[in-house]
Amino acid sequence: MNWRSIFFAAPLAALAFAATAATASAAGPTCPDGAIKVGAVSTITGPADFSEVPKATKAAFDALNAAGGLNGCKIDYTIEDDKADPAVAAQAARDLIDNKEVVALVGSASLLDCAVNAATYNRKKVLSVQGLGVDAACFSSPSISPVNVGPYTLSTAMGYFATKTLKAKNLCAFFIIIGGTQEAYKKSIADWEKITGQKIHLLDLTLPFQGDLTPYVIKARDAGCDAVLTNQVEPQVVQLIKTVDAQKITGINWLFLAPAYTEQVAKALADSKQPIYAGTEWEPYTETGAEANAQWIADMKKAGRPLTAFSQGGYLAAKNFLKVIEGIDGPVTRESVTKALYDMKPIKDPLAGSPWIFGKAKTHSPMRSTKVMKLEKGAWVVETPDFVVLPKVN
């Protein structure tokens, strides 16, 4: 019996749980302290708010706890804010590890948690199932495995989509480089070149985080780009397209990453005639009728949480984590959880296009597929009904 059925089929829960508990009493996860302590470090206040991710994780854990917990073990989940301040992030991680004694981190989503804390996680032998990996270190650390594709792999995937589906000949890439992401983005483009055998037409790593974008769109136009890939985050996506429209530029496909895929962007750009595409991290969250989203939607509705892409990430992190620890025989401790994550088999979840795995690799970037959305009249529509799966790079 799979725990997920307990979790999601409420009426059956009690019955099913009894059954699982009966079999699991012989072998299965136990908790000497009465609860399994799990934590997350997220940017909640400050320049960005990613709290939707760990809150969805919490919703998933709460639902499990309400159904009696995992083999009788409740999940005790703590979310800590890092305010996008490295010192506070380091404090938060140490507080979770030393004081709260968490067995693992699940559903973290922060501007800098990975970069600041990856070393701490390594040293303390605590693993993090990142709900939303943002900075480059999330995808290049032995102790972190995100459940999302992430901006770097997604850049490669969107470039791949532009070449393969949109038949772009002159792909240009403009990246904002903050917090030492330069190497990571350069590698994404190098990977794209290896996969497609094409050369990037123009690569600009100097896009300003704040400031006027007119010089850049003029540069793209004058260089003859037919597709422009950029890692702009939400507000700047709107700014960019507004600038493009102001300059009356046509004939360029605009390719964005997952941060562009929000209803606010769709609304703000409802008037634009530009062909705008965005890659998703998971099954498009706006596709509320999709089979793959059904369980997630049901659970979020029950918890009263909004349906956003962020909440998919938190939710998926919780699911994958629970799936791994339910296979533990004996006490759920930091050591046993770490071992279980190291030795796990890949988990295929309908929400994601790629199977997720932690494992013992030196870096983790297991998710390598996206669905592409197109902006049409103020709404996002699915452009690729199937996941665009990135081929292996040789």
Partner: protein, 289 residues
């Protein structure tokens, strides 16, 4: 050559914004003797009032009015702090106060407006005015520059030609003496704070759609604005205007040269460093002391 010209024209949008805010900074300094680090943040507060009202479905122009009222109120509030506790303090202390207040304002602003979701910023003056060197000069950027020029002219006339202007200059130079002359210092200062608050708010409403409307990035426009004001040595409106536009053009030019493009935001720093070292090579003594 043509690419450079194109890039320079593309930089006009930013230049107009810097110039406009720079002129506002000089205006504040000359009238209330405060180098105001919160200048742009005051305008940003008003702009976000406009954004939240239009997002809530209110019509644009009444919302603009409400935004300007908000900006005025925030300006008066900061002016209240400055006149209540720092009326007799030195210029450095006053600048330090506004720098500290900026930290708090940004924190509050981010808290109220949220950092990462884009807000739908209504474009007050959509469309483009004309095309120059292959670049569409938008109504907004033309208006920004026009407004900067207008404000420059108006400020010069006001300060040099009207009785209130003279009063205000007396006030910023010698508040105690002005008080003795029967000028109601406090009220007049608050009035200036309110007016500059209203004006920066309107300026930012025009600038905001060209930028990413985020409370922090808009508030930090104060850095190039003050750089422009420094080029005018906090005295000359015309030099400030020219300085702001020059900064924008330089930034535009820098974006075409890959080597320097990455370090584009160092431009205001280098420019004011050069300008200051040159223009103040003679001035040795701090006048106040």
């Amino acid at each position: 050559m043509e690419t450079y010209f194109t890039a320079a024209v593309a930089g006009l949008t930013a230049g107009g914004a810097y110039a406009l805010l720079g002129v506002c900074a000089v205006f504040t300094y000359r009238l209330v003797a405060v180098v105001n680090f919160t200048g742009a943040a005051i305008g940003t507060a008003g702009t976000f009032m406009l954004i939240s009202l239009t997002e809530a479905g209110y019509p644009t122009w009444p919302s603009v009015l409400a935004g300007i009222v908000t900006g005025t109120a925030v300006g008066v509030a900061i002016g209240f702090v400055m006149t209540r506790w720092f009326a007799t303090a030195g210029a450095s202390t006053k600048a330090a106060v506004t720098a500290a207040l900026l930290v708090g304002l940004i924190a509050i602003g981010l808290r109220l407006t949220g950092g990462q979701h884009p807000h739908v910023m209504p474009e007050l003056f959509p469309g483009s005015a004309f095309r120059l060197a292959g670049v569409q000069v938008t109504n907004a950027s033309a208006l920004t520059i026009g407004l900067a020029v207008l404000f420059t002219v108006a400020s010069s006339l006001f300060l040099n030609g009207t009785r209130t202007g003279l009063h205000l200059r007396a006030l910023s130079e010698r508040p105690m003496a002005a008080e003795l002359l029967g000028v109601r210092v406090r009220l007049l200062s608050l009035f200036v704070w309110g007016v500059t608050g209203a004006f920066t708010t309107f300026a930012l409403m025009i600038i905001a759609p060209q930028r990413s409307p985020n409370f922090m990035t808009l508030s930090l426009l104060v850095v190039p604005a003050l750089a422009a004001a420094l080029i005018g040595l906090f005295r000359s409106f015309w030099l400030t205007l020219a300085g702001g536009i020059a900064l924008g053009i330089l930034e535009g030019l820098a974006s075409t040269v890959d080597v320097v493009s990455q370090y584009r935001s160092a431009i205001p720093f280098l420019v004011i460093l050069a300008v200051l070292l040159w223009s103040q090579r003679e001035a040795r003594w701090d006048e106040a002391r």
